[in-house]
Symmetry: C4
């Protein structure tokens, strides 16, 4: 019989499988690319995608439980994502973060390849990100470097997404579902702005209007108690 | 046992769930974005999507019944879409409108971000819209402002779609299905014109030909009695 | 009990439903747009999509049987596609044609809007079309004009597809499946060439190489007896 | 009762059906285009798609068993792909290759049409390809010419993909699944770089960083024993 903690963990494992399927569904990843992690509530642990496994073949059991330095704490037969140390860095330095997502979504990658932020020229961008989606540094894969770049780039701004130069997208949220949402909206925003730039110069939105939109979105939009 | 009015309302609730799924299917919205509403026939009420709920998770019961000032008239446990006041404004000022749709479809948003209409350079645009798809003003989300912009922009023209600057698409129709159709064709049109502009300058269609195409489409196309 | 002719006709009705679903599947049409017709073998009749019906809602019974002037010969309760007279014109003037398809596929429409052919710069275009995909005239919807433009534009060339200016794609084939194939490959070709032009100037293929590719494709490619 | 070799061959036939469906799923081919082949382990044979058959209609039995000069060794009623001689050439000249894939994926075809490689400006490209995705020569379809172009272009570099000028993509791998993966990532890479070029000039990645990324990806990424 499962204890309460085991039930929570099992439920989180199932959530992560489902959320990885959302990455595929919304066209944010191909093949084995991308990953979602979750902080295990009330612990110093995280749960993350195994490295190099197809999204279709993910199971709750295959998700890897690690400490907040990215070291596996149980042997379930799977090596964790090669981005684990960076996810762990984010959880250690941002107590408000409960979920981290990484994708190679194509329009966002285009901005990342040229090293430009996605400007806040649509109300949907103001709503979700409260300003532009910023560019982070070029960072080495497999170490904490990416995590360091995520935390420093997002410090003091409202965006939950960062475009890591020459690489792809990392998003954060209070829980993994919110981070997946930010990843979906990051690509949606990058696409619309990319298409707009092909037509001409997007019209800026006044900073005060951006503030008002974001404030309303975080506090009024959605159902009471959504909290995200 | 259900009365006739209850049956009508229940059927409308089911229609709205199905029509929201069409928005996702045709790539017009992501995550919780966008909404469809319907005027409840023979009443001063409208039915609309709950705010911030995933399209997959919508149920007939979750649709929110409001008066024509956007105030919920029943407590079903869901807050209505934050665009409700604007939908209500449209229903109050346009008696011919039975359905309103809002999307953030990407190609249409590109035109909205640069503040340009979609020109009528394809017969499909003449058919459905009878001219260009116009640009409406930048308007605040959460008040009636958007509704005011929709009504004033569409006054005296044949288009059932308007691109609200820096925001997205709003469409109207005699019923919610027609408004969804206009939203699908708005994105389809914006996409083809966007792609054409990358190749060169689209050839204009003569105004008389646009009139003839639109006239035929509204009066001959389709099955007798379609009415839309 | 069905006679042989009735069986053939019923089978053709079923084929047309399936082929319309292929138009949706490959992204060539939205909502009710586009249509497929078939010549009824050994008769002066054609079978075509009813006007303004959603592809999802098509049934074998809803397909409309018409003579080769586009006049319904049976009342099944459905009005035929508004392009029927043009399909009929093609069947009357091209005895080799057994199927006609119309779509508004987006990349092909982009070429149609600027009035440019799709140049033969990929082996797949040489294979299927034996040269560029040509541009036909602007023609009125609802009469035989489009049919006249299709026949005159395709006369003496190998292409089974024509881009009607400011309108969309019409394709022909020995049977409806071949015409659908041409429509799928027309959009695929238009897309790749559109994307190539954004990068630079596509490299031409020598006319002799185009001839050799097309010859091989029509006579060697596929299974013995494919005949298309 | 099946012998071990028959079981291996049957399993390979099933794998090829499944892998062709992956080509469709990831948008790399339309209609009957593209093909996957596999070297039959421990033999001088290959197994390949029949020519001109729809991906939906492929069965394990329809895959054609050929020698390494592309000649069928059994009559199963199907002619092999018209690219068979080129696949065979690759297997004869590259003992490390166990799978070959051909697609007409659109963004990669755009680079092929203008004769340009896909530059290595994203970490995902460095990971999978270890450098740019090169351009091979224009080569005649139906002979060994394409095979010769593949082998000569990929000699001495790390890329498993080559863009054949004016034609499409060929990829190789230790097994057919790895070659399909390379085809999926080739299109994903070509798309992101195409989109980046529309925004400006992609930032190069230092050669030493490319080496480090590729090395890590081939040796650390994935699960122990993946071997690909």
């Amino acid at each position: 019989m499962r204890t309460e903690d085991e039930d929570t963990l099992w439920s989180l494992r199932q959530d992560l499988v489902r959320l990885h399927h959302e990455l595929v569904r919304w066209g944010l990843v191909v093949w084995t690319a991308g990953n979602v992690s979750a902080r295990v509530p009330g612990s110093d642990l995280l749960l993350i995608k195994p490295s190099g496994v197809l999204h279709d073949e993910l199971t709750p059991e295959s998700m890897v439980l690690c400490d907040l330095h990215g070291r596996p704490v149980q042997d379930n037969g799977f090596a964790p994502s090669s981005d684990t140390a960076s996810h762990a860095y984010v959880y250690r330095h941002r107590e408000d973060v409960g979920g981290v997502v990484h994708t190679h979504s194509p329009y966002a990658c285009a901005f990342a390849a040229v090293g430009e932020p996605v400007p806040c020229v649509l109300t949907g961008i103001a709503d979700e990100f409260g300003g532009e989606i910023p560019i982070g540094p070029f960072a080495t894969i497999g170490s904490e470097d990416i995590g360091r770049g995520i935390v420093s780039t997002l410090e003091g701004i409202r965006s939950r997404a960062v475009l890591m130069q020459n690489h792809g997208v990392f998003t954060i949220g209070p829980d993994p579902s919110s981070a997946v949402k930010a990843a979906v909206l990051c690509e949606d925003s990058a696409r619309a702005v990319h298409l707009a730039r092909a037509l001409g110069t997007p019209i800026p939105i006044e900073p005060a209007a951006i503030d008002a939109l974001h404030e309303r979105y975080r506090n009024v939009y959605g159902q009471p108690g959504d909290g995200a």
